[in-house]
Symmetry: C4
Subunit: 338 residues, 4 copies
Amino acid sequence: MTYKELLDNAREYMKPHCMACPECNGKACGSVMPGPGSKGTGDGATRNYEAWKEIRVIMDTIHPLFEPDTSFDLFGMKMRYPVFAGPVGAVNMHYGDKYNDVEYNNILVKACADAGIAAFTGDGMFPEVVVAACEAIAKCNGCGIPTIKPWDTNPLKEKFKLVEQSKCSVVAMDIDAAGLPFLQNCDPPAGAKSVDELAEIIKMAGKPFIVKGVMTVKGAVKALEAGAKGIIVSNHGGRVLDQCPATAEVLPEIADAVGDDMMILVDGGIRSGVDVFKALALGADAVVIARPYVTALYGGAEEGVKFYTEKIGAELADTMKMCGAAKLSDISEEMIWW
Amino acid sequence: MTYKELLDNAREYMKPHCMACPECNGKACGSVMPGPGSKGTGDGATRNYEAWKEIRVIMDTIHPLFEPDTSFDLFGMKMRYPVFAGPVGAVNMHYGDKYNDVEYNNILVKACADAGIAAFTGDGMFPEVVVAACEAIAKCNGCGIPTIKPWDTNPLKEKFKLVEQSKCSVVAMDIDAAGLPFLQNCDPPAGAKSVDELAEIIKMAGKPFIVKGVMTVKGAVKALEAGAKGIIVSNHGGRVLDQCPATAEVLPEIADAVGDDMMILVDGGIRSGVDVFKALALGADAVVIARPYVTALYGGAEEGVKFYTEKIGAELADTMKMCGAAKLSDISEEMIWW
Amino acid sequence: MTYKELLDNAREYMKPHCMACPECNGKACGSVMPGPGSKGTGDGATRNYEAWKEIRVIMDTIHPLFEPDTSFDLFGMKMRYPVFAGPVGAVNMHYGDKYNDVEYNNILVKACADAGIAAFTGDGMFPEVVVAACEAIAKCNGCGIPTIKPWDTNPLKEKFKLVEQSKCSVVAMDIDAAGLPFLQNCDPPAGAKSVDELAEIIKMAGKPFIVKGVMTVKGAVKALEAGAKGIIVSNHGGRVLDQCPATAEVLPEIADAVGDDMMILVDGGIRSGVDVFKALALGADAVVIARPYVTALYGGAEEGVKFYTEKIGAELADTMKMCGAAKLSDISEEMIWW
Amino acid sequence: MTYKELLDNAREYMKPHCMACPECNGKACGSVMPGPGSKGTGDGATRNYEAWKEIRVIMDTIHPLFEPDTSFDLFGMKMRYPVFAGPVGAVNMHYGDKYNDVEYNNILVKACADAGIAAFTGDGMFPEVVVAACEAIAKCNGCGIPTIKPWDTNPLKEKFKLVEQSKCSVVAMDIDAAGLPFLQNCDPPAGAKSVDELAEIIKMAGKPFIVKGVMTVKGAVKALEAGAKGIIVSNHGGRVLDQCPATAEVLPEIADAVGDDMMILVDGGIRSGVDVFKALALGADAVVIARPYVTALYGGAEEGVKFYTEKIGAELADTMKMCGAAKLSDISEEMIWW
């Protein structure tokens, strides 16, 4: 299987929702929803993508020969690469009905675990999605990160029970889901949380907690105050608010501010191992990749997920060799040019 | 009705003058006049539009959940949103003969008032336009802002009598109309006004007075000296002078200089509630939107105006929720990225 | 006649050499020579054009109403506008054989004089071009500026005799013509001149002398040292050296350095009265426009030249009114934004 | 022969691998390999090319007339121009099977020597390539620079014996070849070298040694420490690591740091004599041009190489005349604008 064949195969199932572009950059889908597009003018995903391209890697091969160590540890989860598959919901609506969310997560969680990484699973309108996701994670001995929407306290209690049964070691909440239509008029209300509310939720979760959807130093500091052990610098791929900055544009100042105190993940337009290298050079500990994993799974199921993971991992290792970083912690800001 | 249907309907009446583009950005119309195009090379409207796109909003949903208060007060006029429909003249010539100016203003003024905002009405070659506009405003109990061209003193006296009868609480003058062909060879002469002349006019008007067409700190200070209570930072959508800067490019320094002393409105390329949010973050108190209201009215009459207003308002409220601004005065420069 | 009709007519005679584009920007002709294209990669003319577009004019109509005075005086030559038609040679080769250089200059010189401006005439391989150009200028009582190539001393003596007979009050030399192929292997050699050689030539000319083709402060200072009364900041429209900066990019520092001591003209991509205004705001005293005058002449002969001159002049006057400059010396750097 | 004819001829043999574009800029080939494309996203070659275009040359023809001296001396090799043909390997795979590496080098080395410059020869999977290249260089009395891959010590000893027989005065190693697939899993391992290993290799070579593939000051300093007499600032045309900066972007700081201590060459997107001039103005001593020499050779064999060399040389001489540089060492940073 080549990546082109994987994409060609995926395109058959996903079009016209997603065109499975050679490199997913938000241009072909634009602002079309349902579909993988961004909100409003639809330039959110494209800006994310292009911001990485303006950061360049500095080659230096005058160094001892080594095989790079790409392994990563997230609160005890041992991974081959600092790469996670991102949470996606309503896949049948946005990407085509070859899979529903339950089927999708079942494949994704296992395939990621087999490939040596882990998946974030999604949450949505239908409670069975989290039920099934947590079961899938449990089957993989907890390798996976359930991602819960910012519901009100009582629904959250129910969700966290499921999370507990998943045997996962980490849990996440996409706090920015406040901007999704289906969360806007919930009863009891869902959405934004104060620091105190978030602190209570994190306590309730009883596990290392990652807040997804932070785009500013102020937000990161609030997540830290609330007790989060990590954040994902994310604008939800442009799907919850139109015309955000790119994540690569805000990552450095956030990493500078709180990078010593918590785990920093980042998503948005990361498409290759070279991009992963850049994210780490800008201060991230690991990255989350969403849309390309959907394509990989639609195009090749378990095998597609494995293929894409190994592609990203090999590119990361190659970049580390070409820039002189023997292990992830060697990747430094002086290895990039921007 | 979807926005696409509204546009499709409008396009039938407006083509080839206006193509009712998915987002009005000055590209399809370019420099074609009659029509909605800009003067000269025609890049004025496009630059206005693109300048807003380079200003990005910073998402932060770690805050107490609230329903945003979007209400705005302009010299006693209570409005649901800090948004005005802009003054447009010679609509039949520039947008198609489905409506003439009198019919257009009659619909616009009432529809805006019903939608909780207010319209600026236009002025032109034919005296009956202002007569009818003022009558329309009077019927809405003064909800509307008559906008008078910079005529000579005697014609202005006549116009202000009409304004008085409109029961409006605010009046405006588009001082930059000096650049429109039909004002160039008037007898008595119309066009630019000295500070003293403007002061006399403002006194004559006897109401809070807004000067439209200010693009520099110096101009704003002169308007203030002349007694204006507000200005509209505007380059007339590129229609009075070719190759101005974008309004978003000059707004911040103008707002810094006179924002505490007068009301600052801005127009030019504002197309969504996200753009409204940005304008307020840069120091504006409210915004004026012109071309899209023409499209809304041609495409859906009263209902179109209502639809577009609610679309803009909902986008503004959504952006406020996603950025943590509970009321308009919470919107601050630290919520944008540029 | 509209400008579009003028261009349509010109295109018939000039294609495929020149496409008579709506606004002449060097893109359609690129690097094609013979033809109006630029040397090498052909981006010279385009960069000139685009640099002006990035300079914006600042509207301010709060000022006394006036009719702008656009008149200009060059060493005693009284002109309606600070605008010259540029020197062009081998028109039959580069623009089509409707005209040869003698015919072209005969029409251009008279039409410019009639329109209240003046033409620079070209020089070339064939001696009769300067002979005829000087006769044409003499017939217009010296209204025109013979532009002589940088030949060796003896040929120059002959040329200056012709210049003397033209009754002109100013003479010019395009010192950058060194980069034209036909000047490269002359015997005696033509091309670059030392300051001393140039000083001798200027003395020999016996009239106010303008050096065309200066792109740096250092070059301007050398022209001043040699006794030149003026320079034209010019890269010869990209035709003598590939990949120069745009003239608008280097004009400000040159004007700052020598603007008080000599007359500063500028050419390259100036296409409208708004551009003329910008050039003066950046420190130029007047501008030279070349390619569009060729198009105007091919498309409308005398009438075309008159039409284009009045178009440029009216745009300049309009811009002065909209920006508050009553006379040319009022145009200042604070009236532009860059 | 015109350059267009040369390209048309080359295209017949090279398509679809290489489209022999009017100016080779990496756009048509993108990321396609085998073929001349760049690695990964394929923007490496294009960025190299475009970076030179943003550096502009400053014309100044007020100076004594001279015939420029373009001669260059590399460790005793006397050359007409500061230009080298770059090393290319596996030409049949990447450019079409009209030639194999042995045939290609045989023609290139001799044609370059005849044209007054010198070629770097490539190295590859098959040992006979270096054998034949060294023989070709020997036939030209050592005019040529064998470029050896970063093999392990024992294979290198064999290579250096061949180098010795070539009578060359300089030898090079493309240390960045570590990023080529065929070097990745060698036994014994090939690729990156520590400073100590490199020092040992340089000592073993016993000749002035050039390290190709340096993109950072740190790398240049390490090459100097190891005893290299020169470096080539190069990202291997984008073929060993995706998304490097352009060579023109990093050249100035590298030249500032080590330019007084070693010979600085640069490659990547240099396509004309104007670009050569810019490279020297930024601190390089000479340039290396790769892809266009492949096209020249496929399109015109010996004659093509001669033609392209003279084209580049004439453009360089012309630029020197137009900017006032009589010899290479006169070319200074104040002659460019960036």
